[in-house]
Symmetry: C3
């Protein structure tokens, strides 16, 4: 079966990282691509491979919106057409490189690796949460693990009780009194929700609360295929029907795009500033990544289902996301 | 055909290296395992992979005899049963990880990767030679070569005349006057024996002998499947019917366990002390390993027999061991 | 299909690099070989693998013309026969290692990996250009790219206008006014010729010319299968019918021998002296190699033709060479 679902919007990167006049070269779904911003402020995405001798176009130069191959000087427009040839013009000018639809929405560049006719921007999942006027840091990581194992990690927040205790000050309330529900919504999202009522506050929040006060807390994570997630966290003073918030509600994207079957681009946000950004990196790279890498190693290239994993109630969200993806892959394989 | 014979006792390590309260994580026959000593002094061996998300259990913690997975806190007993779950208890507690029979004998931990019903400790080859009250160093090496090429090396001691001359003071007597016999015994062992009579002593032994005295010398190596070998060396004053020993007879284990098809755990003993231990490592890593690695490289992944090797009379023991293993693999493949 | 044409002469190295008494160990066409010069001044080529336990013979020692294996002391003559055995002589002395015909011509050692009966030295391509009494440096590089991509590079000199502008002072005259012809000759060679008439001289040659003088320039490259090329460069004062040379005509070998399907030995000459030699290395390793490596990466292991490359008029010579090789491989596969 095909490794990836193709008829979906994937995140290519943050718009702010694609500067005019430059080229962002990244591999997605196993193939190298160039993402660029053109002089009219729109974005484009081209295969990073010259059709002549297969050299990466990103090794070349950009002149206005034309990318010139370093090896023999063929020039390609942002639309992928050969627009300049130092050689036989007729032959060369008939050449082109593949392009993909790419759309900017909420500062995110979304691309559609499937049938371009089906690339409806209305299908982009809602990340209006990024409209927040509060300054945020938009970050990008690369992990040497397939994206489904990282989705498992994010869609099962109970892992925080085990690997993020020291960093997040998790105190067992999720395991002790958390109510867990998995729900779908009309956007096609799968929600994996934890709600805790009348529970002890995390250490870091005590100073903001009356002596001995309890809290209501929630951790909701929303998944859209293939792996575009949003995490919603709230802490309210207990008994206020979630009206007296201890801190403002938090909403953060956790969006994954496969680089290859075994490596992933991880896009997320954090508070700005060197300390907060280093903290977020540390959590992802020193706490989460070793676990998901060990999982990948343990699987030794075998299929997840073939290994008959133990499925716990807390996995319900992650498993539903895996099943949805498997179904989409199957549908595309049949189509 | 299967790469390994499964219904045999293999050496997992030295009992002294498996400390109570700790976990020894090692790959054998291509799969990761944990070896541990429990509070009652017995030993256990579990697959080093959580059945939930496949993370290595050895990344977790040990509390008494329970191993707790680092990722989601599932706890497993030394018998492989899930005995603690922070989640839905019924589902989790039905889970388990594979275990292997493991037995301590002469300070060696032996495991049986095949049918547990057939794991009869009476089949463990005799290493009572380790009962010697003289202090010894029990050592472990890892070599990036398949175990059969290392067996070839050990079962054909004539190589010492070529690669261990400087270190062992070998002086050609094996090639010049050695009598070579290959014999089997009722334990299933194959013996590859060299005996030299009225021969020049090695340089290092001259000071212990009358001026001009000759010696009788023997080098006997015993093999049990898969690759558990014992080397017996003797030097006696010539003409004494092996009664007047120049040095006490020496007996040392050379036991190999495949880590993967192309890498091997090598267990051996030497005299204790930094100098003697460094000397033994040097011989194995600087003299033997480069040869067997070059052999592996020369084979370039092809089958030994398909390459139609030149077989010399001195190879008789090694070839008989290879044939025995091939026959055992074939029998298991048919069963 | 077979990866390499076998019934052809390939370059093993420069005769000057194969010193008497030593062994040159190199992999060609995916197999390890030893090249050596014997006491009578002739050359020999043997498989670098002992037929006994497959250890590299080049790890052994050379005594006169006998190569002794380091592992068990078997000795092999330059003709590949086992001529010494410390063991059962009859068995061992019947053994041998494969050899290849090898011939010295113009300081080059040529070997024939195919049917020895067909190894006619008259088929060695003409490199009499190396008879030049002017001192030259004979150089050897290894590139991690298949030889056909390097052939593409050499057989399409237009790339110089893009990647060698700074180093060679190319000034666009090839693209602007070059006449390009591809011709064959009776030796089986394919010539890819560029001729420029009444054109601006390169910067470095202006001091040797009258103020404002134009030049006639030619760049001819000759290819013999599998990848033995010779580059002929000339600069004459324009209007002199190529009689008044600006610098003496230049002729240089560019001979490629596959090490493996994805790596290549590159043999060439340059002016002698540390500066000129460093310059040539820099051009090959910093300008050409990154391009051909990027091409190989872009192809991602797929077949050149299956990728439907854009073929430009300037590729005519390279494409004809590729077609010739494909035809030779096909003929050998059928034979």
């Amino acid at each position: 079966m095909n490794a990836f679902v193709r008829n979906l919007w994937y995140m290519a990167g943050w718009a702010q990282d694609v500067c005019e006049g430059q080229m962002l070269a990244r591999t997605f779904l196993g193939r190298p691509w160039i993402v660029l911003r053109t002089h009219d402020g729109s974005y484009a995405m081209l295969a990073d491979r010259c059709p002549h001798r297969f050299v990466a176009l990103s090794k070349g130069t950009r002149n206005g919106d034309v990318i010139t191959c370093a090896y023999h000087g063929l020039g390609f427009s942002a639309q992928g057409r050969c627009v300049h040839s130092p050689f036989g013009h007729e032959t060369a000018l008939a050449a082109s490189v593949p392009t993909l639809p790419v759309v900017e929405r909420w500062g995110i560049l979304w691309f559609w690796p499937g049938d371009p006719a089906a690339a409806d921007p209305a299908l982009i999942p809602d990340f209006a949460l990024l409209d927040d006027p509060k300054p945020i840091a938009r970050a990008t990581l690369r992990m040497d693990v397939g994206y489904e194992l990282i989705t498992d990690n994010l869609m099962d927040l109970s892992h925080a009780e085990f690997i993020h205790r020291a960093t997040f000050g998790v105190n067992g309330s999720l395991m002790d009194s958390g109510q867990h529900r998995v729900v779908s919504d009309e956007s096609g999202a799968i929600w994996n929700n934890w709600d805790m009522t009348d529970t002890q506050p995390p250490e870091w929040s005590r100073a903001m609360l009356p002596e001995g006060a309890l809290i209501d807390q929630w951790l909701h994570i929303r998944w859209h295929a293939p792996a575009s997630m949003a995490l919603f966290i709230g802490l309210a003073q207990a008994g206020t029907d979630r009206r007296e918030m201890v801190v403002p509600p938090m909403a953060n994207p956790h969006i994954l795009t496969p680089e290859t079957p075994n490596s992933t681009w991880y896009f997320y946000t954090s508070d700005p500033g060197p300390e907060a950004e280093a903290f977020a990196r540390k959590v992802f790279l020193e706490e989460d990544e070793p676990m998901v890498k060990s999982a990948a190693q343990g699987m030794a290239g075998e299929d997840f289902w073939a290994l008959k994993p133990l499925i716990l109630p807390t996995d319900a969200g992650a498993i539903r996301a895996r099943r949805r993806l498997m179904q989409l892959r199957r549908e595309e394989a049949l189509a």
